[in-house]
C-alpha cells in the first residue's frame, strides 16, 4: 500500500515505541470508555428529542397537554443533549485517547478524567432536567441555568488539567497538528464558556456575547476537536502522512486568528453597531483561508486512495465528514454576507446549515473515530459489519434529506417573508412539505443511531464471533 517510512525520525526503537503506546492506551481505557458510553446514551436521548420536536410541526397538538413536552423545551433539550452530551463527550473521549498516543506519554491522573466525565453527566442531567422543567437562562446554547454551569466548569477544569499535564510530560519534541487543535480547544472552551455565562451581561451586549459564544462553541470547540480527529485518522488508516503538514499548520493558525469574531454575523439587522457586524462578516469570509487549507490537505491526501473507502468504515465516515466540512464552512462564509443573510435569517435555512455542521461534519467524523478506537479499547472487532453499512447509509441519507429540504424550504421561506404582498400564514403553509421531509431525515438519523448504539452495545459486551485477527492486541503488539 505504501512504501514511505512510517516512523518519525525522532521515534524511539520499535520495542520502546510499542511499550509507550501500550502504556498510553492502558491509561486512557477507562476514562475514554466512560466518555464514549455517556456520549452514545446522549446521542439516543438527543436525537429522540429532536425527532419529537420536528414532528410537532406536523402534529402541533401532539403532547401539547404538558408544558414539559412543548416545542420550546423539547427542542432546547435536544440541542443541549446533542451539543454538550453527544458531541462534546465523544470529542473529549477521542482527545483523551489520542493525545497520550501522540505525545507518547500516559494520561496524567486518569481518575481526574473519570471524575470529569461523571461531573459532565451530572451537569447534563441537571441542566436538561431544568430546561424541561422550564428553568432556563433563555439564551440559545446557554440555556442551562448559571448555577448548574458551575458543575461543568469544574469538570472541564479537571479534564483540562489531566490533558495539559499529559502534554507537559510528553516524550516527543514536536506537537502533531491534532495536538495543536485539541490543546487549543481545551484552552478556548473554558474561556468562552465562563465568559458567556458570567451573570453580568444585559441588553444588546448580552445578545452579542450570546452569539459570540454560540458560534465559537462550534468553531473553537466542536470544529477544532473534529479536525484534530480527522488529522489523526486519515493518515493512520491510509498509512500515508498528510499531504502537506505545513498547510495543516496554516489551517490551524488561521482558524485561531480568524474564528473568534464570527458569531456576531448572527445579529445582522439587529441593533448592534455596524462596525461590529462588519468585523464579524470580514472574519467569516476570512475563514475561507483555513477551510481551503484544510480541504486541500484532506482531499489531496486521499487522492489515489479513494478505493480504500469501500473497505474502511473509519475512512468512509471521516472522509464524508471532511468533505462536508468544506461544504458547510463555505456555505457559512456565504451566509454571513448581508445580501444572503437578508434572505436566510430567521428561516429553516439556518437550521439546515447548523445540522450540516454538527451532524454532517462533526458527528460523521466521530462515528468514524468510534469505529477505529473502540476495537482498540475493548480488544475486540465489530461483530456485525453489515450494521456499519446500515449506520453509514442511514446517517448519510438522513442528513442529506434533512439538509436539502431545509435549505430549499428555508430559502423560499425567506424570499416570501421579504415580499410584503405575501401573508405570513401563506409563508408558513408553504414550508409544510419541507418540514415533513425534515422529520423524515430526522427519523433516518435516529434509525442510524439505534443501529449504531445496538452495535456499540454488542461490541462492549464482546458479543459475536471472535475474529481471526483481533484489533491491535497488546500481546500482538508486544510480539
Amino acid at each position: 500500500m505504501t512504501t514511505v517510512p512510517l516512523l518519525y525520525e525522532d521515534s524511539p526503537p520499535p520495542q520502546v515505541a510499542a511499550g509507550e503506546r501500550i502504556e498510553a492506551d492502558r491509561s486512557t481505557r477507562r476514562p475514554v470508555l466512560l466518555f464514549f458510553h455517556s456520549a452514545v446514551v446522549w446521542l439516543l436521548v438527543g436525537s429522540a428529542l429532536g425527532l419529537v420536536a420536528s414532528l410537532k410541526f406536523q402534529f402541533p397538538d401532539w403532547l401539547a397537554g404538558q408544558a414539559l413536552w412543548t416545542f420550546g423545551r423539547v427542542r432546547t433539550a435536544h440541542l443541549n443533549a446533542v451539543a454538550y452530551g453527544w458531541a462534546s463527550m465523544a470529542l473529549v473521549g477521542v482527545a483523551v485517547w489520542m493525545i497520550p498516543r501522540l505525545v507518547r506519554a500516559p494520561l496524567h491522573r486518569p481518575a481526574a478524567a473519570m471524575a470529569a466525565a461523571v461531573g459532565w453527566n451530572l451537569f447534563l442531567v441537571l441542566g436538561i432536567g431544568a430546561v424541561l422543567a422550564g428553568w432556563t437562562d433563555g439564551l440559545e446554547w446557554l440555556e442551562i441555568p448559571f448555577p448548574i454551569d458551575a458543575i461543568v466548569a469544574v469538570a472541564g477544569g479537571l479534564m483540562a488539567y489531566s490533558v495539559l499535564m499529559t502534554v507537559a510530560r510528553r516524550r516527543t519534541k514536536h506537537f502533531y497538528v491534532s495536538v495543536w487543535y485539541a490543546l487549543a480547544a481545551m484552552v478556548w472552551f473554558p474561556i468562552i464558556f465562563v465568559t458567556a455565562n458570567l451573570p453580568v451581561w444585559g441588553g444588546v451586549g448580552q445578545a452579542a456575547v450570546n452569539w459570540w459564544y454560540g458560534h465559537n462553541a462550534l468553531g473553537l470547540w466542536i470544529t477544532a476537536l473534529s479536525l484534530a480527529t480527522a488529522y489523526y485518522l486519515i493518515p493512520k488508516v491510509l498509512g500515508r502522512p498528510i499531504r502537506s503538514y505545513w498547510l495543516s499548520l496554516v489551517g490551524f493558525w488561521a482558524l485561531a486568528f480568524f474564528y473568534s469574531m464570527n458569531g456576531i454575523h448572527h445579529l445582522i439587522g439587529g441593533p448592534v453597531p455596524t462596525w461590529l457586524i462588519t468585523v464579524s462578516i470580514t472574519a467569516s469570509v476570512m475563514m475561507v483561508i483555513p477551510v481551503a487549507a484544510t480541504a486541500v490537505n484532506f482531499h489531496t491526501t486521499m487522492l489515489g486512495r479513494f478505493g480504500t473507502l469501500r473497505h474502511s468504515p473509519t475512512l468512509a465516515f471521516v472522509v464524508a465528514g471532511a468533505m462536508i466540512y468544506t461544504a458547510v464552512s463555505l456555505q457559512g462564509s456565504a451566509e454571513a454576507l448581508r445580501t444572503v443573510n437578508r434572505v436566510t435569517h430567521f428561516t429553516h435555512f439556518t437550521v439546515g446549515h447548523a445540522h450540516l455542521g454538527v451532524y454532517g461534519f462533526a458527528s460523521m467524523i466521530l462515528f468514524g473515530a468510534f469505529y477505529f478506537i473502540v476495537p482498540r479499547l475493548v480488544n475486540w472487532e465489530w461483530p456485525k459489519p453489515a450494521l456499519i453499512r446500515w449506520h453509514f447509509w442511514l446517517a448519510l441519507s438522513g442528513i442529506a434529506v434533512y439538509f436539502v429540504s431545509l435549505t430549499l424550504g428555508g430559502w423560499l421561506e425567506g424570499a416570501r417573508m421579504l415580499d410584503a404582498a405575501v401573508p405570513f400564514g401563506d409563508v408558513v403553509t408553504a414550508t409544510k412539505p419541507y418540514l415533513v421531509a425534515r422529520s423524515v431525515g430526522g427519523a433516518l438519523m435516529l434509525a442510524a443511531h439505534l443501529v449504531f448504539a445496538y452495535h456499540y452495545w454488542l461490541m462492549v459486551r464482546r458479543r459475536g464471533p471472535e475474529r481471526a485477527e483481533p484489533a491491535w492486541s497488546e500481546a500482538r503488539a508486544a510480539a
Binding site: I191, A208, Y245, W253, F372
Partner: protein, 76 residues
C-alpha cells in the same frame, strides 16, 4: 475625533459591561500570539513535514510492511 470622544462613542454604542468581552478577546489574542511566537521559537515550523510522521507508531509500520489496512479497517 479625540480619544476621549472615541471612547465615549464606543461606550455609547456598546454597553459598558460588554467592554469586558473586548478585554477577553484582547487577552485571547495575546494568548494566541504568545502561543504562535512560542511555537516559532521552538522550531515547530521548521522541518514541519517530518512532524507529519508523528502520527504513526509501530502498529502502522507493521501494517505498511505487510501492505494491508489495519485489521479493524478490513471488516467490510
Amino acid at each position: 475625533m479625540s480619544a476621549a470622544r472615541g471612547a465615549a462613542n464606543l461606550c455609547g454604542a456598546v454597553s459598558p459591561v460588554a467592554l469586558v468581552l473586548l478585554a477577553v478577546c484582547f487577552a485571547g489574542a495575546l494568548l494566541a500570539g504568545a502561543a504562535f511566537a512560542w511555537a516559532a521559537l521552538r522550531g515547530e515550523f521548521t522541518d514541519a513535514e517530518q512532524t507529519a510522521f508523528l502520527v504513526f507508531d509501530e502498529e502502522d509500520a507493521a501494517a505498511a510492511r505487510r501492505a494491508v489496512l489495519p485489521p479493524s479497517e478490513r471488516i467490510r
